[in-house]
C-alpha cells in the first residue's frame, strides 16, 4: 500500500514488501487483532534527541504513523485508532497547539487531495472526539474527508482529536439521556405538569450499560493498545474500551516505531487470545 507517492517503488521497497508478506502469512495462522489503538508519545523527545527544529519531531512522527498504518492494513487489522490530540493538550503553549492544528489541517487537506487513492484502498477515515473544540477550517476539512470516505469498509482509521475518555463518558451519558427522552416522550406542557409524573418515570427512564456503550465515540473496542516511549499510563485514553485490551509499552519513541513493534504486539495478542476471550464472555 503506497499513499502519497506516485513513484515506482524501488527494489529494496519491493523486497521489503514481499518479506513482510512472508511474515504476515506466518502470523495470520493465528488470530489477528481486529482493532489496534496507538498513543503517539515521544515526538518532542525525538526532536530534542536528534536536535531537530521545532515541529521536526511531529513531522517524523507522521511518517512513522503512515508506516504503522500500512503494516496494520497489510496484516488485515480492520480498525486503527490514533490518539492524535487530547483535550489536555490545549494546555500546551499556544504556538505548539497551533503548530499541531496546522499540521493536522495540512495532512487532512493532503488526504482530501488523495481521496481517490484512499477510496481505492477502501479506507474509511473518521474523526472522533469533542469536535466542537476544533477550529472551523480543521472541522470543515475533517467533515469533508469523513463524508468522502464514509462508504469504505476494508480499513477504518479512527482519529481521536479533542478527546479524553472522561469527556467521552460524560458525552455518552448525555446522548443516552437524550435517547431516553426521545423514546419515553417525556414532555412538559409549560404549566409545570409532566405527561408522565416524575415519581413514575424511573421504570421507563433507567439508562442501561448497553446504552452507554453504544454512545461512546469509539467502537469496536481495541484488542491491543500500543503506547510508545515506555510510558505505562493511558493518559485518559480509551479507559472505557480497554477492559480486555493488551497494553504494550515499547521503549521506542513514536518516530522510532517499526514493524517489529507491531509484530510483537500481534504475537502477544495471539499468546493471550483465549484468556481475553474467556474474560470477555464472563463480563457479558
Amino acid at each position: 500500500m503506497e499513499l502519497y507517492n506516485g513513484e515506482r517503488p524501488s527494489v529494496f521497497r519491493l523486497l521489503g514488501k514481499y518479506m513482510r508478506k512472508g511474515l504476515y502469512s506466518i502470523l495470520t495462522q493465528g488470530p489477528i487483532p481486529t482493532h489496534i489503538a496507538f498513543i503517539l508519545d515521544g515526538n518532542r523527545r525525538f526532536a530534542k534527541k536528534h536536535k531537530l527544529p521545532e515541529g521536526g519531531g511531529h513531522k517524523a512522527g507522521f511518517l512513522a504513523l503512515l508506516n504503522v498504518l500500512t503494516y496494520c492494513y497489510e496484516l488485515g487489522v480492520k480498525y486503527a485508532t490514533i490518539y492524535a490530540f487530547s483535550i489536555d493538550n490545549f494546555r500546551r503553549k499556544p504556538h505548539e497547539v497551533q503548530y499541531v492544528m496546522d499540521l493536522m489541517l495540512e495532512k487532512i487537506e493532503g488526504m482530501i487531495m488523495e481521496e481517490s487513492i484512499i477510496n481505492a484502498y477502501d479506507i474509511c477515515v473518521r474523526f472522533v472526539g469533542n469536535l466542537k473544540l476544533l477550529s472551523e477550517p480543521v472541522k470543515t476539512a475533517a467533515d469533508k474527508i469523513m463524508r468522502a470516505t464514509a462508504n469504505n469498509s476494508k480499513f477504518v482509521l479512527l482519529l481521536a482529536v479533542c478527546y479524553t475518555s472522561t469527556d467521552e463518558i460524560v458525552h455518552a451519558v448525555e446522548e443516552s439521556s437524550k435517547d431516553k427522552l426521545k423514546s419515553n416522550e417525556i414532555c412538559n406542557d409549560g404549566n409545570g405538569d409532566c405527561v408522565i409524573k416524575i415519581e413514575e418515570m424511573e421504570p421507563y427512564s433507567e439508562i442501561k450499560l448497553v446504552e452507554l456503550e453504544r454512545n461512546t465515540y469509539i467502537n469496536p473496542y481495541p484488542d491491543v493498545l500500543i503506547r510508545t516511549s515506555g510510558e505505562t499510563r493511558l493518559s485518559n485514553y480509551l479507559l472505557w474500551q480497554t477492559t480486555n485490551c493488551i497494553l504494550y509499552s515499547p521503549h521506542a519513541l513514536w518516530p522510532e516505531i517499526g514493524l517489529r513493534h507491531v509484530v510483537w504486539s500481534v504475537i502477544n495478542f495471539q499468546r493471550h487470545y483465549s484468556y481475553l476471550e474467556k474474560h470477555k464472555e464472563y463480563l457479558k
Binding site: R233, W240, T243, L247
Partner: protein, 260 residues
C-alpha cells in the same frame, strides 16, 4: 498461554491441491515454532526477573533500599480472578505492601473473589481498616492505619451507569420545573459528585500493579484510571518482594506532564 489457530488459519480440504496442503502445514509449523521461541524468550526473562527479585529482597541491590513511599498516595492491585483464589498469596502481598508503608490500597479482581474473602483478608492484616469505615469515621488522612478498598467489575462501568442515572434523574426533576427546554448537558465534575453520592469515593490510584497472565486492567473503574501508571507484575504465584520494590521504586522516578 493457550495457542489457538485463528480465523487466519486456512481450513484445507484434503482433496484440494497438495501444494496448498503442504504450504498450510508448513506455515502452521513456522507459526508454532515462532510462538515456541517467544515462550522460551519469556521463560528466560522470568528467570532473570526472579533472580533480580531475590537479590533485591535480600538487600544486595542497594538502589532499592530506600523507597520514597509517600509518592504512592494510593496504590491499586489488580489480580486475575482465577489467581485471586490463592488467598494466602494475596495476604502475603498485602503484608509486604503494609510493611512498606503504603497508606491507601485498592484490591480489585473482576469476579469479586477478593470481596468475598474480605473478612479473612482484613483479619490477617495487622493494622488495616476497610476504606468505607475510614470514610465514615473521616480518618482517611490518619496515617496510622492502612485503608483497604475492595472492588470488582460492578464498581466500574456499572457504577458509572448508576451515576448516569443519578444525573438523568436530577435532569428530569429540573425539566419538570419547565425552566427552559435545555437538552441534558453534564460535566465531569457532576459525574464525580454523582459517583460520590452513590458511595464511590475512592480516588484515582497513582500506581496500579497487575498480577495475572496479561498486562490488562481487566475492567478497573474507567473513571479512576486517567493518569494511573500500570505495571504488569506477572502471575501471582511468582510474586516476590523484590519485584514489588522495583515497581514502586520505578514509579517514584516517573515524571508526568499530564498532556501539557
Amino acid at each position: 498461554m493457550d495457542l489457538k489457530p485463528g480465523a487466519g488459519g486456512q481450513r484445507v480440504n484434503r482433496f484440494v491441491d497438495p501444494f496448498a496442503q503442504i504450504s498450510y502445514h508448513f506455515l502452521q509449523f513456522l507459526w508454532r515454532t515462532l510462538h515456541l521461541l517467544v515462550s522460551l524468550w519469556y521463560l528466560q526473562v522470568s528467570m532473570v526477573q526472579m533472580i533480580e527479585g531475590f537479590l533485591i529482597s535480600s538487600g544486595l541491590v542497594k538502589r532499592y533500599g530506600a523507597l520514597d513511599i509517600d509518592k504512592v498516595r494510593y496504590l491499586a492491585i489488580v489480580v486475575d480472578s482465577e489467581e485471586a483464589y490463592q488467598i494466602s498469596k494475596v495476604i502475603q502481598l498485602l503484608k509486604w505492601v503494609e510493611d512498606m508503608g503504603v497508606k491507601h490500597l485498592c484490591l480489585y479482581d473482576s469476579k469479586g473473589v477478593l470481596k468475598t474473602n474480605k473478612k479473612t483478608i482484613m483479619e490477617s492484616l495487622n493494622n488495616a481498616m476497610p476504606f468505607e469505615e475510614a470514610v465514615e469515621k473521616d480518618v482517611l488522612l490518619d496515617q496510622k492505619q492502612m485503608t483497604v478498598e475492595f472492588a470488582s467489575s460492578s464498581d466500574g462501568k456499572e457504577a458509572i451507569t448508576r451515576a448516569a442515572n443519578v444525573l438523568f434523574m436530577k435532569y428530569l426533576k429540573y425539566a419538570k420545573t419547565g425552566v427552559g427546554k435545555e437538552e441534558p448537558c453534564f460535566t465531569e465534575d457532576q459525574m464525580d459528585e454523582a459517583l460520590k453520592a452513590i458511595g464511590y469515593k475512592g480516588p484515582e490510584p497513582d500506581l496500579l500493579l497487575i498480577y495475572g497472565p496479561v498486562r490488562c486492567h481487566l475492567g478497573f473503574s474507567p473513571w479512576r484510571l486517567r493518569y494511573t501508571e500500570m505495571v504488569h507484575m506477572g502471575p501471582l504465584r511468582y510474586m516476590n518482594l523484590g519485584s514489588l520494590k522495583k515497581a514502586i521504586h520505578r514509579f517514584t522516578t516517573v515524571q508526568q506532564n499530564y498532556g501539557t
